[in-house]
Symmetry: C2
């Protein structure tokens, strides 16, 4: 059934504020101590790699998500790179991930000289479909003493990266069962799901290590930034060491014991993060209110629905989602044109990763649900300030 | 001849301000528009990956250094990683670099799955010794149609990374001759040499691509930050593309055409950088004045000398250097202890890179000068504010 573009635009306008020149997809809100903390960094000249805000920010993240250790880094991509390394990912390993994710998930795997292995998503969560994955692994792999081997490539499948799409948690329990059965590590890409809970526990607690992002478009922002979070304290400590050039602590000696990375978050960005974390509960409440208003506004619009959180989860509604009932690229593009021309930013899903030139030869399963979602999904304005 | 620790401490105290609890090696100075620009970022919520300060900062860097294109990134290590990739460095290539450098130079080579090849430094510049390198390459390599081949490893030597140690330019002209003769690319690690000139031209103009750092301890700082600079506009454009996730520009479409990197400098850090660049000429003048005062204060101290710029160069004196006339680790350590205990930060050179566990098996030439310098060199406080 064809949906009514005019009715959709009207519904969006009923929720998005009138009079604003352009309503972006997700804009930051700096209504707390951002000024005070950043100015303190400048006044004390502690802007860089050492400073109290980095420590405080890491503590606030660990407290909020309930993990044992958080390590603040320059962005979510860097966090995922190190998380994969510390989960034992080696050259030529295959890493299971959804085809429907932001390109950084696959890029981080490439940095480890490993290979993305794309799997399908389910419409209920927009994330990895555990049932379909289980069936697939049963046919495509053998579990040997060396781990899970992809029968057709001969490579080891080392890990699974569930990505909590637009803040909606993947169905983690069955996925964890699969990881145990097939000797796979789990690394949660929780870049989009700060403030999202699965069965009452914050996302990021299932992975051996997991990651968050604080990019400018995220629920909270540090300008650019991310974090590695883990309940394994020794891995957390190692993550801190590797992301800070692997220098052995000494008053003056400069000596390093690993090929390290300069991934640390500067203190001035962490200062912004501390102020943002203080406001996070308020942001989450506002974002859920906004989602409820969208849900109401789209109740009676035919051919399209507002996506709501999976029943076992509480989502942060990072980026709100409309799903067309049926694939209709012509109507979809008309809607994208009309909204963007009328000052309301919308966009379709990311191009599925197996369609990008650099990942087109990566192994993959049947991706029919992801391919269908890709054509039906539209993100709409989601700022906490709306 | 043994030097007099007490006399050295006295000379340092005569230059460093009295009454300050602790004089660090290099502290930032925020006496310009830092707060105004950063506040504007916060007030307009443009703190992240897009914003006018990133463009302006890149223009200011290109103008100041005289290159055609500057690309701002998260730090100097990230800049070097991309510069090496774009210079054509491939897996298993060997990259010539001084053993006497900060570990990031070698780490960036490792990120390319390439291999550092350590060469000796000369006391005149503290950087790569071109004469010694030329002799070495003559014996150790053959130049084939595929490039310069290390006879003992069989690997291609692809590039040379001269690092301008503590801001003192390497003798670039003879090094460039060697690069031409041996088919090597040059990538200048100018992390420490913003404001340093070789024969009247800013460092960073010799490399196919070169890099700068704006870490908290550098001549100017963005918290964390760096830049790729190049006179090859097409490489500069590609550097911008690769460091910003390689997204193909489109109003709403998310499509990427390379394995890209999230190395972009956030706008809020670039804002700091713009304010700092405005003050750079003043910082450089103050740092040269400080060096002149040190030079004067150490004129009559026996057994030790203040290091001054090579005759063909004008240095930024990023980190000032004392050189003991002779190796004497006991006296050196006594001096390090005494100064650090008395509120004046000093430190020895970095541990030479071939002595670190992860680089101990890398190819290297005779490093006798670097090994000698490592034991004789001491950095002393160098902030523009002193």
């Amino acid at each position: 059934m064809e949906f009514d573009v005019v009715a959709v635009v009207k519904a969006l306008k009923s929720v998005c504020p009138a009079g604003k020149e352009f309503v972006g997809l997700h804009e930051p809100c700096f209504s707390g101590n951002e000024w005070a903390y950043v100015k303190e960094c400048i006044d004390t000249v502690w802007v860089s790699s050492v400073g109290k805000y980095v420590d405080r920010f890491e503590e606030m993240i660990a407290d909020f998500t309930g993990v044992k250790k958080a390590v603040a880094v320059v962005n979510g991509t860097a966090a995922l790179h190190i998380a994969l390394m510390l989960a034992g990912v080696e050259k030529d390993d295959e890493i299971v991930m959804p085809a429907l994710t932001f390109v950084a998930t696959a890029n981080a795997v490439s940095y480890c000289n490993a290979v993305p292995h794309f799997v399908d998503s389910e419409e209920r969560t927009l994330g990895i479909d555990p049932l379909k994955l289980k069936d697939y692994l049963k046919g495509a792999t053998i579990v040997s003493p060396d781990g899970c081997i992809n029968k057709s490539t001969g490579r080891r499948i080392k890990a699974v990266i569930p990505m909590h799409t637009f803040g909606h948690p993947v169905d983690l329990d069955p996925l964890m069962d699969i990881c145990n059965e097939y000797k796979l590590e789990m690394i949660e890409d929780a870049a989009e799901s700060l403030g999202s809970y699965y069965k009452g526990v914050h996302t990021g607690n299932w992975g051996k290590l997991s990651i968050l992002s604080f990019n400018g478009n995220k629920t909270i922002t540090t300008g650019g930034g991310g974090a590695i979070i883990t309940n394994d304290e020794s891995l957390g400590k190692l993550a801190k060491h590797l992301t800070t050039t692997a220098k052995i602590p000494h008053r003056w000696d400069y000596r390093h014991d690993y090929v390290g990375y300069n991934y640390r978050l500067p203190n001035i960005n962490a200062a912004l993060g501390c102020a943002q974390m203080e406001q996070l509960p308020g942001f989450l409440k506002k974002k859920r209110d906004l989602a409820a208003r969208y849900n109401q506004a789209f109740q009676n619009i035919k051919g399209i629905k507002f996506f709501t959180e999976p029943p076992e989860s509480k989502s942060n509604y990072w980026l709100n989602v409309l799903l067309l009932n049926e694939v209709d690229l012509e109507q979809r593009n008309k809607l994208l044109d009309k909204t963007n021309n009328n000052g309301i930013m919308t966009r379709p899903a990311w191009t599925l990763l197996h369609k990008l030139a650099m990942f087109k030869d990566c192994p993959r399963m049947d991706l029919s649900c992801a391919e269908n979602l890709e054509m039906r999904l539209i993100n709409i304005p989601s700022s906490a300030t709306l």
